[in-house]
């Protein structure tokens, strides 16, 4: 059993926007009901929202050893079709509101049960064989249509939730408000770490730019929230520093590197207002979190991602895989800990695989350490960028574009929150921008499309990305 909800039976586990709430005791009850609806070790695609129905599905599936793949309820149809074809789930867990359209799209599916405005839908697929340690599946960069998933174990989720609860000092008095989707590893880690402490989660699908969000925040006296770098940029624009939020006690940041300037500003704000601000680092491949910067050091060490979480350990390696021990030397960041996930899945059979990582994750991020042992991210080894907290693989985006726009040369590069796409057909500029935005579900303003007569390549035919930026 993943969680022992009966320890906090009478306590409210979650409240959603419309005022509806659920206690830990009720979470336990619905978990029991679901156990009679779905066979043990079934694969379920859960189309997530920040609502009680979505949460109830997630906790019940995990407590009953059913394995959910968490997806955004607004996922592009084609990408969803692709995932269904590859993994053939036995069930879907979907909001009642979206049910009718879904059943029309997939007429072979059938609703078998419902609870808390969510419906259980049976597919015609046979049972998918699953490894016994497998607890949960999350997408890596689901936005580019890759069926690549991260396989997380029960031990992964439990150990990471406990470590987070420890370093953030989470008690059952906490009331975190959601600002991130539940299917996003960071959003989910907030839910996991608070559920294990018996706290009350405030669930909303509204965003920071909406009045309803702040009304809910104040009315329910939220004590904390998390955000990606872009969240903090928005907060600054919202004149957050002048807002009166007496219930707020702490803020966490992850999902990409916050600019040192913003880091400093928020650290200063927190210090001046007796609040705690934590900058953290993580990856879906490490369940969620790998590091945190203790709030007391936030102002002194701004720009740093801190130290390893309890139970974890960092090291840096050079190009020859030798350990770097001196400070201020950049190397690839390696993490070891019980939250390093089992590995990836790219096809149905991969769900039978056991632990391929054995507790060690080569992160692909380049980092250095200062004299006091605090780590700083300085770059990335792999070709991906983060847009509004979402990992977007540049090579996969290129492949997707080449498939959709035949006979057009294309190359993608860029920095976080800003992708530059170079194409050799001027007439497709608008169409390319619309296509990428639609497929990734990311706002079009994050993409710049440039026309160039020819994509620069070297003798081996490889794209010269450095030349593109000139």
């Amino acid at each position: 059993m993943m969680w022992s909800f009966n320890n906090h039976k009478e306590k409210v586990a979650a409240i959603q926007e419309n005022g509806q709430s659920i206690t830990y005791g009720q979470l336990e009850e619905v978990s029991h009901e679901i156990s009679m609806q779905i066979p043990h070790r079934s694969l379920i695609f859960s189309l997530c929202e920040n609502s009680i129905g979505s949460l109830v599905g997630y906790t019940s599936f995990l407590n009953n050893q059913m394995v959910p793949l968490l997806l955004d309820s607004g996922l592009d149809q084609e990408l969803l079709d692709n995932l269904i074809e590859v993994y053939q789930p036995g069930y879907f867990w979907i909001a009642n509101q979206k049910k009718a359209a879904f059943l029309q799209q997939y007429p072979q599916c059938l609703q078998t049960w419902e609870a808390y405005d969510y419906a259980l839908i049976k597919t015609p697929y046979d049972v998918t064989p699953l490894h016994e340690d497998l607890a949960l599946l999350l997408t890596t960069s689901g936005s580019t249509g890759s069926p690549k998933l991260v396989r997380q174990s029960y031990k992964n989720i439990e150990s990471n939730a406990k470590a987070i609860a420890e370093y953030l000092e989470i008690t059952d008095q906490e009331r975190p408000i959601t600002t991130l989707p539940m299917n996003y590893t960071y959003g989910l880690s907030i839910i996991n770490s608070h559920l294990c402490q018996g706290a009350t989660i405030l669930l909303t699908n509204k965003g920071l730019m909406q009045k309803e969000f702040w009304t809910f925040f104040k009315q329910e006296e939220a004590t904390s929230f998390g955000g990606v770098p872009y969240t903090f940029e928005m907060l600054k624009r919202l004149r957050f520093f002048r807002m009166a939020l007496p219930s707020l006690q702490s803020m966490t940041q992850a999902g990409g590197k916050l600019s040192p300037e913003l880091h400093k500003e928020f650290a200063q704000y927190a210090q001046d207002h007796q609040k705690r601000f934590y900058v953290m680092y993580g990856q879906t491949e490490a369940t969620a979190r790998m590091s945190y910067l203790p709030y007391k050091e936030s102002l002194k060490k701004y720009g740093s991602m801190g130290i390893a979480i309890p139970g974890g350990k960092f090291s840096l390696i050079d190009v020859d895989e030798k350990k770097i021990t001196e400070p201020e030397i950049t190397g690839e960041l390696v993490y070891q800990g019980p939250n390093v996930t089992l590995g990836y899945a790219e096809k149905r059979d991969d769900l039978l695989k056991g632990d391929e990582n054995q507790g060690t994750l080569i992160t692909g991020d380049m980092a250095k350490q200062d004299e006091d042992g605090y780590y700083y991210i300085v770059g990335r080894k792999k070709r991906f960028i983060k847009i509004f907290g979402n990992r977007v693989n540049l090579d996969e985006t290129e492949r997707m574009l080449k498939a959709a726009f035949e006979d057009m040369g294309c190359a993608c590069s860029g920095i976080d929150d800003k992708m530059s796409i170079y194409i050799t057909d001027e007439l497709h500029k608008e169409a390319v921008k619309k296509f990428v935005s639609k497929k990734t579900g990311i706002h079009f303003s994050a993409f710049t499309v440039n026309y160039i007569p020819e994509i620069p390549i070297n003798e081996a035919g490889k794209t010269l990305y450095i030349k593109l930026e000139e």
Binding site: G207, L208, M209, Q210, K211, F213, W214, Y230, E233, M234, R237, L238, R239, F240, R242, M243, F388, K434, S437, K438, H443, F444, S445, A446
Partner: protein, 78 residues
């Protein structure tokens, strides 16, 4: 350019839409008017009208029509 023209142009630029689509438009009524689009729109409006909007007005800016009312507070007349 008149104020209404500037106002409409801010919408078309922030949400990648045509001028005819602005009337009756609401937050999340189209895909591009999400939190990212909203921040872009506010930045655009603050820029063209040379104003600094308050938090309450930024989060209350929920539709094309409501926005006109809000800008009135900053002496932008339509």
């Amino acid at each position: 350019m008149t104020n209404i023209e500037k106002y409409i142009q801010s919408f078309t630029a922030a949400f990648d839409i045509e001028a005819e689509q602005c009337e009756g438009l609401e937050y999340q009524g189209i895909e591009t008017w999400d939190s990212v689009g909203h921040m872009g729109l506010i930045a655009e409006l603050e820029d063209v009208f040379d104003i600094m909007m308050d938090t309450d007005d930024i989060i209350d800016f929920s539709s094309f029509e409501k926005g006109k009312e809000i800008l009135g507070k900053y002496d932008v007349e339509f």
